[in-house]
């Protein structure tokens, strides 16, 4: 592990256990203690490799989000066939009245 960046540009601090627990919660993943330890080490290793990128001064460089110069495309507003509703619902874990059924979202009514 190289830790921080070579001089100058601010490099983020190394990833720690608490960061891994935090991002796992954001990503809706539950980790065991053992997994937190293992993932922390592995992610730290990958991020240390990325220190070369994190340390660059790229202030004058525009970001590229996509390889193509994307532009808005218009098309005639025509009715076209769409997916079969029953076929789509057949793939769902639970269905009720032609809708996806999920567990309770809000708490019990008062």
């Amino acid at each position: 592990m190289t830790g921080g960046a070579p001089d100058g540009h601010a490099s983020p601090p190394p990833i720690g256990r608490e960061d891994v627990v935090h991002v796992a919660r954001l990503a809706r993943l539950e980790l065991t203690d053992e997994e937190v330890g293992r993932f922390t080490g592995q992610l730290a290793q990958v991020l240390a490799h990325a220190a070369d990128v994190a340390a660059l001064d790229l202030a004058g460089v525009a970001p590229t989000a996509h390889p193509l110069p994307l532009q808005n495309v218009l098309r005639p507003d025509e009715i076209r066939p769409c997916l079969d509703r029953q076929e789509v619902l057949d793939g769902a874990p639970e269905v009720e009245d032609h809708r996806f059924r999920v567990p309770r979202i809000v708490g019990d009514a008062p």
């Binding site: 490099s11 809706r28 290793q45 070369d52 990128v53 660059l56 460089v61 970001p63 769902a92 999920v102």
Partner: protein, 511 residues
């Protein structure tokens, strides 16, 4: 038929008896029935795939029905299509209506898509016959096909080694001779790297050339579907069938007029072509791999190309940028696996608990690793340092390519830094695994096409691939250089695993 031959016999390109072009010509002429071709492929899979594990689903009944339909078209004098009766394998991240599409993930186990990917439709319209779905790294995240909920695929040249990945099942299926053609997807090298490790041709088209509709998304600005084949000519034909604008994919490019004829470009030669041997695409590679790339440069020079060495230092930043950008996009794309609309659900007392329980049980370790890496790279406080920087590096990469292509027409380098590595060697060392992609990533970041061509064997007797890179929409140039390489390639390591005895010498490409 599944056994690697190891006698250095080379498949005689699309004209060889097992090549896609020869099969299609025979079926179209009524000399062979599509049913007999497909039965042969299915029986090869049945007898040879139990230890290779290239396929996760075999669709025998549907394949035979499709073959019969091709035969009916021939009998009735209708055009059965340019790939009539040719068996193809599909990576299991390509949606197939009514046929399980798992991405080798428990979270999609048993899901049957309600629609076909555009490439699946186009193959069927061309008369090709899908025989099954191939193994892969879960959600295409990996370089060895070991990250599969179904277990690993083995390399047909050495069953103790990986086939590469993430499209390792498709590469192995072609290398073993089960099918002459397969489709994979390439986000950071997932077609080209397994093609190199299995000794077959594998190609990543220009971003937007092939519709991604029905390709389960990993990193949407990088993903592209492309062909595996035993020859450059076959790969060019397959690309011709699947390429073209699709209104269902908003990133699909408009069709140029006239549409390019990829297959016709195969025989054009390299006279006067400027080839840049890219130093950054061989540095850090094993000496036997470097030797093959240098031999390829000499062979191209002998064939009439102007070869020079060129340095593109920005390529050294590719790996870091890629392993921030791809996980960032993946963390967003994979948010959809929440146990609501498809696949696995593990119940919980409320929706959030159900989401967490489902994702925790459904995703494997590499997918979790990448989701967390991407979530971290996008999170408040780290976005600028990681994702923002990586996007700017992507700009540097595009500009560096543009500078290089003012000096040369194509770049030449290794496809993968080494030959196939042993199963298990890198599973606990993500960074070492990621290094497998160091030579293939630049083309993905820029959205450019690139191809891997088998170029003899390394010191261990295993296949080595040489990579040719071209500018955006430079497919014709790419195929012409690749075909010249194929014609000059040394024996050994190539698609010999697929070559029937006496299939002829290495003269096959280009007609």
């Amino acid at each position: 038929m599944s056994a690697p031959r190891g006698d250095g016999t080379r498949e005689a390109g699309g004209d060889g008896p097992a090549g896609a072009l020869r099969i299609a010509a025979a079926v179209r002429a009524g000399e062979r029935s599509a049913r007999s071709v497909v039965e042969e492929a299915l029986s090869a899979v049945a007898s040879g795939d139990s230890d290779l594990h290239a396929f996760v689903t075999v669709t025998a009944d549907a394949a035979l029905a499709a073959a019969d339909e091709v035969d009916r078209a021939v009998a009735e004098g209708r055009d059965p299509g340019p790939l009539a009766g040719v068996p193809v394998a599909l990576k299991d991240n390509l949606c197939t209506r009514g046929v399980p599409t798992t991405c080798a993930s428990r979270i999609l186990e048993g899901w049957r898509p309600p629609y076909d990917a555009t490439v699946v439709d186009r193959l069927a319209a061309a008369g090709a016959v899908a025989v099954g779905k191939t193994n892969m790294d879960e959600f295409a995240m990996g370089s060895s096909t070991e990250n599969s909920c179904f277990g690993p695929t083995r390399n047909p040249h050495d069953r103790t080694r990986v086939p590469g990945g993430s499209s390792g099942g498709s590469a192995a299926a072609v290398a073993a001779g089960f099918v002459p053609l397969a489709l994979g997807s390439d986000t950071g090298g997932s077609i080209r790297q397994p093609a190199a490790l299995c000794g077959v041709v594998g190609m990543k088209p220009t971003y937007g050339l092939v519709s991604r509709y029905g390709l389960v998304a990993f990193a949407s600005s990088l993903d592209q579907i492309g062909p595996f084949a035993t020859s450059v000519a076959d790969a060019a034909h397959l690309l011709g069938v699947i390429a073209g604008h699709d209104r269902a994919d908003s990133t699909s490019l408009p069709d140029p007029d006239p549409r390019p004829d990829f297959a016709a470009s195969v025989g054009r030669g390299v006279e006067g072509r400027r080839v840049g041997l890219c130093l950054e695409l061989v540095e850090g590679c094993a000496p036997d791999v470097v030797a093959r790339v240098r031999r390829a440069a000499e062979d191209l020079e002998a064939a009439g190309a102007e070869v020079s060495e060129i340095s593109v230092p920005e390529f050294r930043l590719g790996l870091s940028a890629y392993y921030l950008i791809a996980p960032a996009e993946a963390s967003s794309n994979l948010a959809r696996y929440d146990g609501v609309r498809y696949g696995l659900r593990v119940d919980g007392p409320d929706v959030a608990a159900m989401n967490t329980a489902t994702r925790t049980a459904g995703f494997g370790p590499e997918v979790k690793r990448r989701i967390m890496l991407g979530t971290y790279a996008l999170s408040a406080g780290y976005y600028d340092a990681y994702y923002g920087k990586a996007q700017r590096v992507r700009t540097l990469m595009v500009e560096a390519f543009a500078r290089a292509y003012r000096q040369v027409d194509v770049l030449l380098g290794a496809t993968a830094p080494s030959t196939a590595f042993p199963i298990g060697e890198r599973v606990d060392d993500p960074l070492a695994m990621y290094m497998s992609d160091v030579c293939t990533i630049p083309s993905n970041l820029a959205g450019h096409p690139a191809i891997s061509v088998p170029y003899g064997a390394g010191d261990d007797g295993l296949p080595v691939g040489v990579q040719v890179l071209a500018p955006a929409l430079g497919e014709e140039l790419l195929f012409s250089v690749a075909a010249a390489l194929e014609a000059a390639a040394p024996a050994g390591g190539g698609p010999g695993a697929a070559a029937p005895v006496g299939s002829g010498g290495p003269e096959g490409a280009g007609r």
